[in-house]
Symmetry: C2
Subunit: 306 residues, 2 copies
């Protein structure tokens, strides 16, 4: 594969950045990769894994980079930009992987040098694990990366960034920031908050012990615990930075939940049956679109991990 960017800088070296580094090396689509993480432990781990050329400041990592990707929690975008803006190369592309887009744009734009192309992006991929050791080259295979180019963005630069994500294994789409934040509130942010809530409730009941919850989790609950094990800092920032859309979806969710609770209280079996039948179709669509496996229980080994 031809080199798409000579020099790529990753700011933040967690699951997402380390997977970008591994997928880019697999593809052979970049020359050099530099990286920086605020924590010296993370930098040491990244060096040990030989993920990229690890620098001791963010400014050093971005110097001469043709593509800079901000891979930090969305709450850290503003301070990172203050640090790197003076060191960005004229003509460079600046992108990110943040789960919210309106807030990232608001944090980045005030610092943006005029000569830099800012193209926000969000790869919809991840796992419940975090840190540089959690990364793997296949993370983006057949997943979607949403590009959110601002009005008047240089179309050649947008196409090149899309090519980079294709080289990493992903499909790409374009969306405006507002719509992105709403779509993600539905497909990601509200589900995560709901999972965190359900796991918190189970942990907090005095009449059911944690040990009972754990032993008997295979009846459905364990599915919730996976996403409720995701990185707390990242998710705190997501909710604080996509407040409006998340609260809107949670409002709709509560309304619907109350309607189902009323159906249970009133013994309205037809309402419940019709509702539960409708939701099966969405699952089928996801499997047909290659976004999940049809194997029972996600293909977990029968009997669980021993």
């Amino acid at each position: 594969m031809p080199v798409i960017y000579d020099r790529v800088a990753l700011i933040g070296l967690g699951l997402i950045a380390s997977s970008i580094a591994l997928a880019a090396k697999r593809a052979g689509c970049v020359g050099e990769i530099t990286g920086y993480a605020r924590s010296s432990d993370t930098r040491d781990t990244a060096r040990e894994l030989d993920l990229c050329t690890v620098c001791d400041t963010a400014a050093a990592a971005v110097r001469d980079a043709d593509l800079v990707i901000l891979c930090v929690p969305v709450g850290a975008m503003d301070s990172v930009m203050a640090e790197i803006a003076p060191a960005l190369k004229a003509g460079a592309v600046l992108s990110d992987v943040g789960s919210t887009k309106l807030s990232v744009i608001a944090a980045v734009e005030p610092h943006l040098p005029e000569s830099v192309h800012f193209i926000p992006a969000h790869p919809l991929a991840g796992t419940e694990h975090s840190g540089p050791r959690a990364g793997f080259a296949e993370l983006y295979d057949n997943r979607w990366c949403i590009l959110v180019p601002p009005e008047g963005a240089d179309r050649d630069q947008v196409a090149r960034l899309a090519d980079f994500w294709h080289a990493l294994g992903a499909n790409t789409d374009e969306m405006d920031a507002d719509h992105h934040d709403l779509v993600l509130a539905v497909t990601s942010h509200a589900p995560h908050l709901i999972a965190y809530t359900m796991v918190g409730v189970a942990d907090d009941l005095s009449r059911v012990t944690d040990s009972e919850v754990i032993k008997y989790s295979a009846a459905g609950f364990r599915d919730f615990t996976r996403i409720a094990a995701s990185d707390p800092t990242m998710w705190r920032d997501v909710f604080l930075h996509n407040k409006d859309a998340t609260l809107e979806i949670l409002g709709r969710f509560t309304e619907e939940l109350f309607a189902l609770q009323r159906a249970i209280r009133q013994g309205d079996g037809d309402h419940l049956h019709a509702y539960f039948t409708r939701t099966r179709a969405i699952r089928r669509g996801i499997i047909e679109a290659g976004q999940d496996t049809d194997a029972p229980n996600f293909g977990r080994t029968p009997g669980g991990a021993k």
Copy 2:
């Protein structure tokens, strides 16, 4: 392995019953297995799969059986019992696999011949698939089956039923019906209703299309769709028959969700971070207890099913 019951009858031939038949054959712990399903299609499928000796009435299936297991939705227990009670053998054990226990006991006891040992049970295992073709012999391996023997139950018969479940691969525990229904409301019933609700909300939004929800589901939502694809009839019955405990847990859930929504609205990041940190411990407990895999994304093939 020695034969534990000479003749076992399965009433209902869906995922749970067919997995019992396959696991019992794997173990060699029963003589003959008979079975009955209300739908002639299901009976034909079971014959084709050679799951067991399929009878054309429930009464014929239970005649001479030493163990009869009711594997029908909990809403059908009453009518099934009316049908089979006169045909039950004196000294036989009658059990079930229903997800609710108070309501099953209330449905079964009025029909129960005095000479029959009734020992309700609930194996905590399943998948999102249903019907006789969905069964597999490993379904119960390392899962828990909860026995709910009534006061004064014959302890030898309880031990023998526990041995049967051990032979199928499961661990067993005992609980009273009331506590069972509360534990299951937390670990299963509330999570299922919440998953159904979230999937329904996503399906119903006018500003986000189903196709967007499907394409971008890997960001978290797809985990909810698996359990929201479960059998609608079974789940309608579960909610109608564990009304009180489910509504109690949903009440706690809503309270907690409102507290997190308020933290988001007020920008209280510390509250969110502390909450999200606490829920990680439950996930670790589940993995250590062998009730789920630690592989990222449940060990789904990277890139999803193509």
